[in-house]
Amino acid sequence: MSLWKYANPVKFLHLSERVLPTLWVLSIACVATGLVWGFFFTPDDFRQGSTVKIIYLHVPSALMAINAWFMMLLASLIWLVRRHHVSALAAKAAAPVGVVMTVIALVTGALWGQPMWGTWWAWDPRLTSFLILFLFYLGYMALWAAIEDPDSAADLTSVLCLVGSVFAVLSRYAVNFWNQGLHQGTSIPVATGERSVADVFFVPLVIAMIGFGLLFLALVFYRTGTEIRLRRTKALLAREART
């Protein structure tokens, strides 16, 4: 029960003011360590050469692109069930972070794909799924931006997030099926986190992943605070206009 008390905007602001400095420092330290370690102090892969260094950006950002959507889904459900305003605003705050993560994953993926597969873009199921996820993020944010009344916007975007999640999963299966159906047996060597990655690459990768996770948290905390302040400003102005 105690966790719900942070659903109160004021309490949430106090909490975020307390934890944010630590979170910022930790996350930036982790991201920097992971990336610097990965960039300067890891050997080249015998097959992929130095492009393997891209993994320290690509995998963490892809991970957070998906997790950001999960977090939005959770926050949307909490808003629909318990009507906590902070929850709705947190979902709104997370979307742009998710978009940037998706874009990083796509761009680094393309830059990695070019030397490895000989093409910037392949309609590989995983890449395609990210493109679809990107579109879902855009639609979600556009809907937030289009609706004036904050409560209606929260309701509509929450339902959209729910419906979108179902269709995102469906699309994932559909895309898998589609590509397999097209070119039987072509497998593109996409590095999938720890499985194919040796220990020398693994430690900095984990640090980068933790760093991206913390950075996501810090950004969402901070941006939720921003949304709360904007909302409070609006509420105060509306009250003034009434009297």
Partner: protein, 218 residues
């Protein structure tokens, strides 16, 4: 419910030109694609299933923004929401009316346009079946999009942005059925998936649509 269906159909015929507009649009898309990719019969026959699906998708999208917006502007939706008919049922009926005026005619003429695109003979039955099974899902999903954007001025573009990604699974499985059918391959898996999506969407989507419409009406 019958009354609402008849009213929507009657309005579509009197004001919207009925079947005509969607079909003309469908024809134009097919023709433009042929112009764009060149007249090679072999190439056209290979992309025919996909072109027909894209045409169906766009023709369906074209009329979506009027699906609820007109009823919203003249107050009919408020009155329908206070009528004994559940809003879920009303939206299902409106989706059905939309399908009858846009989806069904496309299903009927798709084989004819298949001829223009050199669709292989064994593909005709499958493109028709794929469209018949898949287009109801397009209308129902589109109704959700229309319900979510109904209060927004100039919501047309937003509607496309919201709805088109939701069309991805239907498009993939639908086009796959048509393509495999045209190549004489086994279509059972994509056809089952396509039917599954359509039935799932028919069963669940009206609740989501009604929920968002209620939000937009308050």
């Amino acid at each position: 419910m019958k009354a609402l269906l008849l009213r929507d159909l009657r309005l579509a015929f009197r004001a919207g030109g009925g079947f005509g507009l969607g079909l003309a649009f469908f024809l134009i898309v097919v023709m433009l694609v042929a112009f764009a990719v060149g007249p090679q019969a072999e190439l056209l026959s290979r992309i025919a299933p996909g072109v027909l699906w894209i045409g169906a998708l766009l023709a369906c999208l074209l009329s979506l923004d009027r699906l609820l917006a007109l009823d919203f502007e003249d107050g009919s939706l408020d009155l329908l929401a206070t009528a004994p008919l559940p809003l879920e049922a009303a939206l299902s009926v409106k989706a059905l009316a939309h399908w009858i005026t846009t989806g069904l005619p496309l299903v009927v003429v798709a084989p004819a346009l298949g001829v223009l695109l050199n669709l292989p003979p064994q593909g005709f039955a499958w493109i028709t079946i794929a469209l018949l099974v898949g287009t109801p899902a397009l209308s129902v999903i589109g109704t959700f999009g229309a319900a979510i954007t109904v209060g927004i001025k100039r919501g047309g573009l937003l509607l496309s942005l919201l709805v088109l990604p939701l069309y991805v699974p239907t498009l993939i499985f639908g086009a796959e059925v048509a393509r495999r059918g045209a190549q004489g391959m086994d279509v059972s898996t994509p056809l089952l998936m396509l039917a599954g999506i359509t039935f799932g969407v028919l069963a669940c989507m009206p609740f989501a649509s009604a929920a968002v419409l209620r939000v937009n009406l308050r």
